[in-house]
Amino acid sequence: MQELNKHVKSINHLLERYGVRFGIYKDGVFKEQLFPFDPIPRVIGKEEWDEIEAGLIQRVTALNLFLSDIYGEKKIVKDGVIPPEFIFSSSGYLTACEGLKTPKGIASHISGIDLVQGKDGKWYILEDNLRIPSGASYPLIARDLCRTASPGTFAGTHVADNRDYPKMLRDTMDYVSTGGLNVILTPGRYNAAFFEHSYFAEKTGAVLVYNTDLTVEDDKVYLKTAAGNQRVGAIYRRTSDEYLDPLAFNPESLIGVPGLFQAMRKGNVAILNAPGNGVADDKGIYYFVPKMVEYYLGEECKTNNAPTYLPYYEEDKKYVLDHFDDLVIKDVAEAGGYGVVFGNTLTKEKKADFIELIKTEPRRFIAQEVIDFVDLDILDEDGVTLIPRKADLRAYVLTGEDVRVWKSGLTRFSRNPDSFIVNSSQGGGFKDTWVLQH
């Protein structure tokens, strides 16, 4: 590990040269920024990992069952486990997806589950990301570069090889494919994850395509090539649901594929991840995930949610108003670290306004205890000093024939020493995540 520290400059230089960037929209302007790499990995021991892994498999299994249920019979609502308001007023719930049957019954093929480790040693789930979470390419490529810079580092350790991610992704696509090519549909170069799309296309053998390369005829999707149309069986996409198909969603979308959604409804193509998944990774629905696990699997939930309160319930609302300063309040409609407010940071007037807002729109907010999570050391710019920073872990769970957790993950840290927000869109950096085999 010491060895790696010496190479931090050259690795970051290589990342820059490879174009490992993160695009971000701020105030309506597209900016590309480098995503700084810190050479000190997060190391997770085997026993600890086994526990995390079992919990994530259980969680993602339940989330997929929930998605099939919600766009079908809605048993979990009829049985009173989740109030119907939380489904129908969720911005991620799509009426168009009612009755949708996804190939092999899988809706969330790639799930990015964000965890933090509390000072009590326990891991907590921060949020579930079921709408094609990005970021897996960062630790993958960083590991490659580290291996190049310092080949000895991995020879003598028991770090699980993480180079199997593209294979896992390909297996998932092949499993749900309805027959034909696998494609990666990118909205293009001005998208946060463009680098990742081209990287995965290369590594999985899928064809990198723009929307205009695809066409739908007789409810089937084709890739237009010089040699004629070729049938497409699985589409990994980043384009958000709203813009995916102008005939089914936003009619003004110019980045969608007309007819794609109907092709999917007819069972003629798999879309990874399926449209409509937003209903399951809604911050309001998060509260109910442990209940889903019990409901669908009849098991006790193995993952820990951060203690969460829903102002929707009178009892919880009272608690939130009484303990406002100790809580972090999240607007369920916002993502990526936006719309997150720490109660104790507000001025008196702002606080009064916010409390009023919670009272009038209780369904819109959740409140959570602030988890005091462990700091990880990062290497300061001088290359010698270690400084502690807040960090989380995004674990990648792939659902195909089995549910598998990638033995690696994206560890993100906040640049600002006082900040608990580690989203890459908020200007942090990342580390590799080492999972030990023994």
């Binding site: 119907p84 007023s89 009426t95 005939l247 009619p251 007309p258 007819k266």
Partner: protein, 271 residues
């Protein structure tokens, strides 16, 4: 009553277009109040027309014209048998499905204008849901002025009420928002009414388990002279026509002609 209906959409393009996709929701859906007994569809240029039902059970017709063309004509005609009942489908008032129609949707997010109208109406509103439906519908009719061209397909309920102007779509959105504020499940209905002109939109509200149709634009209860194509949370779920074509230079002009006449009366002259 047996009603003969015809819905005709003509598109003209200023420059030849290709890869034109269309999705239409202009087929009367079968309900307790209406049954479709005859249907025929014509499309020019000729192409295969597929049909399916969407997530809410509305019928769709869709298709694709690859070749270059400068006009598109779609005609759907047939016969519907309507009953005089003022409501349809008894649904258990606690049914999960009803919550779809109490949550605000894209066009029906209440803002200050609707909230203050709702508060003002609360002072005089009757206690029962059906009474409130009639009360709110009358308010919408008395407050809004029917003025085509003042709003467009993007206008929300809040914007329309602020303008105090609009067309049937806006009247429906305003009424739906008021009903949902009162906790009464309300849905948007698109279709035709007896006579000639364009397609129409109205509101269905669930009072004590029954879906009542009310037409706020005309301040009428929906009876056997209405034909429903589709229902949904708002306009977005019920767009009669959706489509896209290739050629950024082409400007599209749309003409809609509909007619609904009782079968025992002479058919309206062709337009």
């Amino acid at each position: 009553m047996l009603l003969d209906f015809r819905y005709r959409m003509a598109l003209e393009f200023s420059d030849p277009v290709e890869d034109q996709y269309f999705v239409m929701r202009c087929i009367p859906r079968d309900t307790d109040r209406q049954k479709l007994t005859e249907l025929s569809t014509e499309v020019e240029p000729d192409t295969a027309v597929r049909s399916d039902t969407d997530g809410l059970g509305n019928s769709m017709l869709y298709g694709l014209i690859r070749e270059k063309h400068t006009s598109f004509l779609l005609t759907v005609s047939g016969t519907v048998e309507t009953t005089g009942s003022l409501y349809e489908e008894h649904e258990d008032p606690s049914a999960v499905e009803l919550f779809r129609y109490t949550a605000p949707s894209g066009y029906t997010q209440p803002g200050p204008e609707l909230l203050s109208a709702y508060t003002m109406l609360a002072e005089t509103a009757p206690a029962d849901d059906y009474g409130r439906l009639i009360h709110y519908a009358r308010y919408v009719r008395d407050t809004m002025e029917y003025l085509p061209g003042t709003t467009d397909v993007h206008t929300t309920a809040e914007e329309a009420l602020r303008l105090r102007k609009g067309v049937c779509q806006d009247y429906a959105h305003v009424l739906i928002t008021l009903l949902r504020l009162a906790g009464i499940p309300a849905r948007y209905a698109a279709g035709l009414m007896r006579g000639e002109g364009e397609s129409h939109a109205w509101v269905e509200a669930n009072c004590s388990g029954y879906w009542y149709g009310i037409d706020p634009t005309n301040n009428l209860l929906v009876d056997d002279s209405y034909i429903k194509f589709s229902h949904g949370r708002d306009y977005e779920d019920c767009m009669v026509s959706r489509g896209i074509f290739r050629n950024p230079r082409a400007i599209q002009t749309m003409g809609i002609a509909v007619s609904v006449v009782p079968e025992d009366q002479e058919a309206a002259p062709q337009q």
